[in-house]
């Protein structure tokens, strides 16, 4: 039920792992490693599509993490590293879509929703308060009505 597709492609990539030749250079520098993890969490592993580069065990992810370490070592900025990935794999690799006209709705949507929700709430409450000002059933009457209703239905 779960994870069929990623496994399939992971299996394809891993088929070569048994004969892996080169040890991925594991970072010795903690700061570099931290930055590498932070960057690779923003990126999608294209092999096992819904994992991040940080989480994936696919060989391509190992290679790309190595590439990121190299670029950090070369003094590239985070933005330059992201651009490097986008130039090769497209916007699709970014888990945080860039803000541009096609993503305005995505980034603005939640705020619109929140604003809309608050406005609707205020309108609703004000109307209720106004209605309440008008003469309606008293509490006592309510209670009696509810009691009557409760008798008629179980």
């Amino acid at each position: 039920m779960k994870l069929r597709s990623i496994l399939l492609c992971c299996a394809l990539m891993f088929a070569g792992a048994a004969t892996a030749k080169e040890a991925a250079p594991m970072a010795t520098d903690v700061a570099v490693e931290k930055r590498m993890v932070a960057i690779s969490e923003e990126l999608r592993c294209l092999v096992c599509q819904n994992e991040s580069l940080a989480g994936s065990h696919a060989e391509l992810a190992l290679d790309l993490r190595r590439e990121i370490r190299t670029m950090i070592g070369e003094g590239k900025s985070d933005q330059e590293i992201l651009d490097f990935m986008v130039a090769r794999y497209g916007d699709f690799v970014r888990f945080r879509p860039p803000v541009k006209p096609t993503t305005w709705l995505l980034w603005g949507g939640p705020f619109l929703l929140l604003a809309g929700g608050i406005v609707a709430l205020i309108v609703f409450l004000r109307r209720r308060v106004r209605e309440e000002a008008a003469p309606r059933l008293s509490d006592e009457e309510h209670r009696r009505a509810a009691a009557l209703l409760d008798q008629s239905k179980p």
Binding site: C9, L12, L46, V47, D63, E67, V86, R88, G90
Partner: protein, 175 residues
């Protein structure tokens, strides 16, 4: 006043339309950002003769295919017969990019299943693959006379994709 009770229905209706369109699309079908960009340069040793190298500029002025393959790749074997028979019938140069493979395994594999390639360049550490945005071997690039990538096909080539997509493009570019 009462129209507001129709809002949920309207929102849902729009959603269903999008979902219906979504059904006709394939989410795994990723366009390559390298399309219509110059093919990234590289110089790599050849598989058959390690002392010789290959670089895309060697084929300037020709239309050619770059096919990324590896002996460990299961789907490569699936498309391989098609490439072999295609190479026998056409003189379109096909360059293999032997991606993250062992030299001996790769040579055995070609000996066993046939060699459709003009030559194979050895990308042992996968760096060239990264520059080409390779993520699912096999992948095939169509590169024009000016050295520009005109198309990328991810996954095994099928007789259908060869006939309907790759060949017409090659014919047009060769004019």
């Amino acid at each position: 006043m009462k129209q507001r009770f129709l809002i949920p229905l309207a929102v849902f209706f729009v959603l269903v339309i999008f979902l219906a369109i979504g059904l006709t699309l394939n989410p795994r079908d990723l366009p390559s950002p390298l399309k219509d960009k110059p093919a990234p340069a590289f110089t790599l040793p050849q598989l058959a003769a390690a002392d010789k190298t290959f670089s895309p500029t060697d084929l300037k002025g020709k239309v050619w295919l770059l096919n990324v393959w590896a002996s460990w790749c299961v789907s490569c074997r699936q498309e391989h017969p098609l490439l072999v028979s295609f190479s026998k019938q056409n003189d379109l140069p096909i360059i293999g990019l032997n991606y993250k493979d062992q030299g001996a395994d790769a040579k055995n594999w070609l000996a066993r299943f046939g060699d459709p390639y003009l030559l194979s360049a050895v990308d042992a550490d996968g760096r060239v693959g990264i520059n080409y945005g390779v993520y699912g071997v096999p992948e095939t690039y169509v590169i024009d006379k000016a050295g520009t990538i005109r198309m990328k096909h991810t996954g095994p080539i099928t007789p259908e994709s060869l006939k309907t997509q790759i060949l017409p493009l090659v014919a047009e570019l060769s004019k």
